[in-house]
Amino acid sequence: MKNPSVSKRMVKDHFFKGLVLFFASLVVIPLFLLLGYIFKKGIGAINWDFIFSMPAGVGESGGGIVHSLTGTLILIIIAVILSVPVAVATALFINDHPKNRISRMIRFTVDMLQGIPSIIMGIVVYIWIVLPMKNFSALAGGVALGIMMLPIVIKSTEETLKMVPESLKEASMALGAPYYKTVLHVILPAGLSGILTGVLLGVSRIAGETAPLLFTAFGNPFLNTNIFKPVDALPLLIYNYSTSPYPEWHSLAWGASFILVAFVLILNLITRLVVKKWQIKY
């Protein structure tokens, strides 16, 4: 018969805790390595010129990424315009009819859409838009990114809408307000923080996506604001420059990486601090 002593078991207990702490801390190391590296390498490349000028010739030092920044901005705007109305409307629908068969199918679809690899987004939108148009375009890129944003905004909106108490809806309807007015003036404002959260999270996600843009927006060494033509984007630039053999381009890529990570960080912070504050508590 075995009856381990208390002290033996306490040793095991402390050992286990130590093991857990050890492995957990090891995870933090790549983060610091990664972030620290990006910071160190990137900050050197950032200057006024970097943000606002065009790339220099191949092999030359200096140059900027204004074309990528503009492109990313354009793509985000297109994606948001296309996806947010659809997403909010869908969330409203499934919130109204939670048990409906269509709602269940929509929930399933949202889960599935979230899991689709980003490269598949790219090639499907290529077939849908690039082929018929016979050229790459910001529009195609925006569509691909918009589809990626859909599940995020739908889920976030739905979560918040669920928290709006039924009594609020009923109070509005009891005053004789038609349903759509109830939605626009009572439910939506209550769910605004959720929509905003979803949009910010969605934007921070798509800002860094490369694969969907490879065959849609395609990239462009020149500044372009015509949405029917190809456009560059930050992640595309990072991809192209980092896989090139030119060290000058590598430093540009670090600078762009820094900006991208900073952008994602800031969006996340805004989401957590500002938007949550706006959230109406019941």
């Binding site: 018969m1 075995k2 381990p4 208390v6 078991r9 306490m10």
Partner: protein
């Protein structure tokens, strides 16, 4: 006069800075059932949880005590909490058999958790004995290796008692063990406790006066964190000394 198994001297219990139990002195006698009674919020559960030092487990509650508790003359504060809990077992308000374990494994869970290895036939004996003592053996002996989820509330609670008994503790603490059960299951458990007391000391927190009256030998009456009165159940119920005790018993509050 029976031996004292558990002695409490000058016990104060705090949650953070809030005092929940004030200066309690009480003795619990061997192989007797002592009921701890009182209106909601009087500190009886807090008090009970100090006896096996389980209050130390939930760090967020910031529970701490002053004063001493002696188990057979040993100060439990100087024993390792693991050893304290092997000799003082606990049964909770809501039956909580481990859902991922079979009935068999649930009964000997205490051994498994403490890393105590025995031969299979030794465990078999322990399982049969514990389940027999809690009048469950007949009902489950053919489904020992099933998970206990099909058991009724009352059966689950008896399983939890069997689980505590399997460790052969000196004392068993029960925190309102029948409040989640129907009257028939409650009656069965009260019957059970009456039989069990021959071999183990029982301390039971209950808000049900009638229950205390039915099964306990001694009763402690708590009010707003203080032990207002303590004595044999017969005396407390028929001739209470404290006015508040009488009010509680006659239903004027609580």
């Amino acid at each position: 006069m029976a031996d004292k198994v558990l002695s409490v001297r000058g016990l104060n219990a705090y949650y953070g800075n809030k005092k929940a139990v004030l200066d309690v002195n009480v003795d619990f006698y061997k192989n007797k059932i002592t009921a701890i009674m009182g209106p909601s919020g009087c500190g009886k559960t807090t008090f009970l949880r100090c006896l096996n030092r389980i209050h130390e487990v939930n760090i967020e509650a910031r529970a701490r005590i002053e004063g001493d508790i002696f188990l057979n003359s040993e100060n439990i504060a100087r024993m390792h909490p693991i050893l304290v809990r092997r000799r003082i077992g606990m049964v909770f308000q809501k039956p909580n058999p481990f859902p991922h374990m079979t009935i068999y494994d649930n009964v000997i869970a205490g051994y498994k958790l403490n890393g105590i290895k025995k031969k299979k036939h030794e465990f078999d004996t322990i399982v049969e004995q514990s389940l027999t003592r809690t009048a469950l053996w007949g009902e489950v002996k053919d489904s020992l290796y099933d998970r206990g989820t099909f058991l009724s509330g009352g059966q689950q609670q008896r399983l939890c008692i069997a689980r505590a008994l399997a460790m052969n503790p000196d004392v068993i603490l029960l925190d309102e063990p029948t409040s989640a059960l129907d009257p028939i299951a409650t009656a069965k458990i009260e019957e059970l406790l009456n039989e069990l007391k021959e071999n183990v000391t029982i301390i039971i927190v209950t808000h049900n006066m009638a229950q205390a009256g039915r099964i306990s030998d001694y009763t402690a009456f708590f009010y707003l964190g203080e032990l207002l009165e303590y004595g044999t159940t017969e005396k407390l119920f028929t001739n209470p000394e404290n006015e508040k005790t009488e009010n509680f018993l006659t239903g004027r509050f609580g």
